[in-house]
């Protein structure tokens, strides 16, 4: 057994795949070295530091994409990917918790994008109020995991102990899914944009309710928000100490949430993948393509749509809860319409209907927002304060009007990037196979689809079993 595997391995190496492997490893190493080099104190003053360090981290994460695309064996890809996610990134993150924060937020949005991808990408139901489910999950834990429940129910049994967190994680999934069904039920008959507007309305309704439910009973504490929200227990701290790893609590929590998010994402990918390749996924696609014909094939529209809504919602519920615990504090500002739009943008930028696409979309958008655009504006700010003069125009940057300060125009740059991205790569970064072909054609660009091979004729059993009814003849 092992011998056979080894043999295959040797063959692979001989096939030249080892070259790719070396290339990928070299890339990862280069990114690591770059990040390490940037860590020197002297460089922090450099004007280009903020941008370059942001890009370096993006490049490091980009290695995951490289691995995904490299023609390597699944096992090798798995090992490489996991070692980056489980070893290298946490290692870097301990030195710079900001990286962990970015990675965790990427993860939270990636899981949400995966969920929304089921609703929008698989089933073709445009949901503009997705953040509502995120809010449901977040508030569920925020209320019971803080003293807020005491105020609301007039007891003093709360906050719940940290251990309850895990039970509530399941509860959040259930409650969010249930909310999804509640929303789904009245809107079953709606199509396309009517559905979109109702989901938008629903998202707003949830936000306004959360924003106002400090009276008549104070359930959500209104705009004041709820704090502090209980965090899950650091049950593993003694073990780490025993291993000789001593980290302070903030860092431990940063790591903790990072891994927690990874686990949920792993679960989400697994779920989405399995569903996609089954009758459930096919039914969703059929609904997306032609509702009437799908119904004529025996697909119960209502039930399948509800299933899509509930599945998508459950991811958001879980993530909302983790978000609440991670933030310590939540208030309605985290659950606005723009947030829903943000997740939708991730799904489409990544490639609608594509699972890796949703993750990449979330990563790109989040990193762009949190790091690269920020890095860019910090760099320009430095230039300005350093009194740099634009060479040819002889224009001192310090006289750059404050009205044009780069930090204010992150959204503008983001807007332009969105437009460019849609024009240059409308199918998304990693398109789903089906969508990719559809688009290549619509836009007259060529892209050869990879077709699966058919079993040869001989492999098939010959006859079709006849059902019981016998033909009647006159």
């Amino acid at each position: 057994m092992i011998g056979a595997k080894a043999k295959v391995w040797i063959e692979r190496v001989q096939n030249g795949r080892s070259l790719y492997l070396v290339g990928v490893l070299a890339y990862i190493l280069a990114a690591l070295l770059l990040m390490n080099w940037l860590n020197r104190p002297g460089l922090r003053d450099a004007v280009w530091y903020p941008l370059v360090s942001a890009l370096a981290f993006a490049a490091f994460l980009g290695s995951l994409l490289l691995i995904y695309y490299a023609p390597l064996a699944g096992l090798v890809k798995g090992i490489l990917g996991l070692s980056i996610l489980l070893v290298l990134l946490p290692f870097l993150g301990v030195r710079n918790t900001f990286l962990l924060e970015v990675a965790t937020q990427v993860g939270i949005f990636a899981a949400m994008a995966l969920g929304l991808n089921i609703v929008v990408g698989f089933a073709g139901l445009l949901d503009l109020g997705y953040v509502a489910f995120y809010a449901v999950g977040a508030y569920l834990w925020a209320i019971f995991g803080s003293h807020q429940a005491n105020i609301a129910f007039g007891t003093n049994r709360f906050p719940l102990e940290p251990e309850w967190f895990f039970l509530f994680l399941f509860l959040a999934v259930g409650v969010a899914a249930f909310t999804g069904i509640l929303l789904g039920l009245p809107v079953l008959r709606l199509r396309g944009d009517y559905l979109a507007i109702v989901t938008l309305a629903f998202g707003e309704v949830i936000r306004v309710i959360v924003n106002n439910l400090d009276k008549p009973i104070n359930l959500t504490n209104g705009p004041q928000g709820i704090r502090p929200v209980q965090r899950p227990p650091l049950f593993f701290k003694p073990w780490l100490n025993a291993l000789g790893i001593r980290l302070d609590d903030p860092t431990l929590y940063a790591l903790y949430f990072y891994f927690l998010v990874l686990v949920v994402i792993g679960f989400a990918i697994w779920l989405a993948r399995r569903l996609e390749n089954s009758w459930v996924g096919r039914a969703w696609t059929a609904i997306r393509e032609d509702e009437l014909a799908a119904q004529a094939m025996g697909i119960p529209l209502v039930r399948m749509k509800l299933a899509a809504f509930a599945t998508g919602a459950s991811f958001a519920g879980a993530m909302g809860m983790i978000f609440a615990a991670k933030q310590y504090f939540i208030n309605p500002e985290s659950f606005t319409f723009m947030e829903s739009i943000g997740v939708l943008v991730m799904v489409i930028v990544g490639g609608m209907g594509s699972i890796p696409g949703a993750i990449v979309g979330a990563t790109v958008v989040t990193i762009l927002n949190l790091q690269i655009l920020k890095g860019l504006s910090l760099m320009l700010n430095k230039l300005r304060q350093a009194g740099v003069v634009i060479p040819i125009l002889n224009f001192p940057l310090s006289q750059w009007p404050t009205q044009l300060e780069p930090a204010k125009y992150e959204r503008l740059v983001f807007g332009i990037l969105l437009i460019l991205m849609m024009i240059l790569r409308p199918q998304g970064i990693i398109p789903e196979r089906r969508h990719r072909m559809e688009l290549a054609e619509a836009l007259g660009r060529e892209e050869a689809p990879e077709l699966e091979r058919l079993p040869a004729e001989e492999e098939l059993p010959p006859v079709i079993p006849a059902p019981e009814v016998k033909p009647a003849r006159d």
Partner: protein, 261 residues
């Protein structure tokens, strides 16, 4: 023998227009029957009534003795009635294979748990049904690859996929709406043979809407003629062909009518 399908005084109106008017229709299992009639006579509407896309304004529709009125289309399909559409409605961005698998929707038994944990039950079922889908592809005589996107197929091939998809649910009754439209004579002949095999080899009862008389006369055991929503004739192909009302309204006298002055 008991009737498989029975329509009693079925009426459907659209605003002031009576598209189907007090139509009675009965069908024994194992038959191939045709519905013909001028354009706009109400044939397709009749199919839509049976399959639950429209609700009849009046009348009763019984399938195996039980009423179909009020059921949703998917519930009708689950009862054992499949159909094809006059304007082809394949899932264009799904492959031929996927289209047929969607047609088998009602037959999947694997639960979500089976799916998530890829139990033997899920895998076995998936493999079996995929194989059956391939057999169906062969059965209807599709030449295209099962992995081709449906919308990329030529018209005639698409019609065949539609038939295969309808068969995938293992229906007791299949409703074919102009299956040979857009086919050349050779393909039409092929399809005619196919329809006969549906009944002979699979034991499926067939209702056919057609405008090509060669097909209608060749395979149907009984023909019903609609005009302006009403049944104006019914009988064997020969009887219908000689019926003057049918000739007047539908078949024509074989000479051009002086429509252009």
């Amino acid at each position: 023998m008991a009737n498989l399908l029975e329509l009693r005084k079925v009426t459907k109106r659209f605003g002031g227009l009576v598209a189907v008017n007090q139509v009675d229709f009965t069908l024994e299992p194992g038959r191939i029957v045709s519905i013909i009639g001028p354009n706009g006579a109400g044939k397709t509407t009749l199919f839509n009534l049976i399959t639950g896309i429209y609700k009849p304004d009046e009348g009763e529709i019984l399938f195996e003795g039980r009423s179909l009125v009020g059921l949703r289309p998917d519930q009708v399909t689950a009862r054992g009635i499949s159909r094809t559409f006059q304007n082809i409605r394949l899932f264009g961005n799904m492959t031929v294979m996927e289209n047929i698998l969607v047609g088998m929707h009602t037959r999947f038994r694997a639960s979500p748990v089976d799916i998530l944990f890829q139990t033997p039950r899920f895998r076995g079922e998936e493999r079996e049904l995929r194989e059956e889908a391939l057999r169906l592809i062969r059965f209807v005589g599709l030449r295209a690859s099962p992995d081709e996107l449906a919308k990329n197929l030529p018209y005639g091939e698409q019609r065949k996929v539609e038939i295969a998809r309808a068969l995938a649910a293992r229906p007791k009754l299949i409703l074919l709406d102009e299956p040979t439209a857009g086919m050349n004579p050779q393909e039409t002949a092929e399809t005619t043979r196919l329809i006969r095999r549906l009944r002979d080899e699979l034991g499926i009862t067939v209702i056919l809407i057609e405008h090509q008389m060669r097909v209608v006369m060749g395979i149907s055991e009984r023909v019903t003629v609609l005009d302006y929503g009403e049944k104006i004739a019914e009988g064997s192909p020969e009887e219908v062909r000689r019926n003057p009302r049918v000739i007047e309204a539908y078949l024509g006298r074989g000479v051009a009518i002086g429509a252009i002055a």
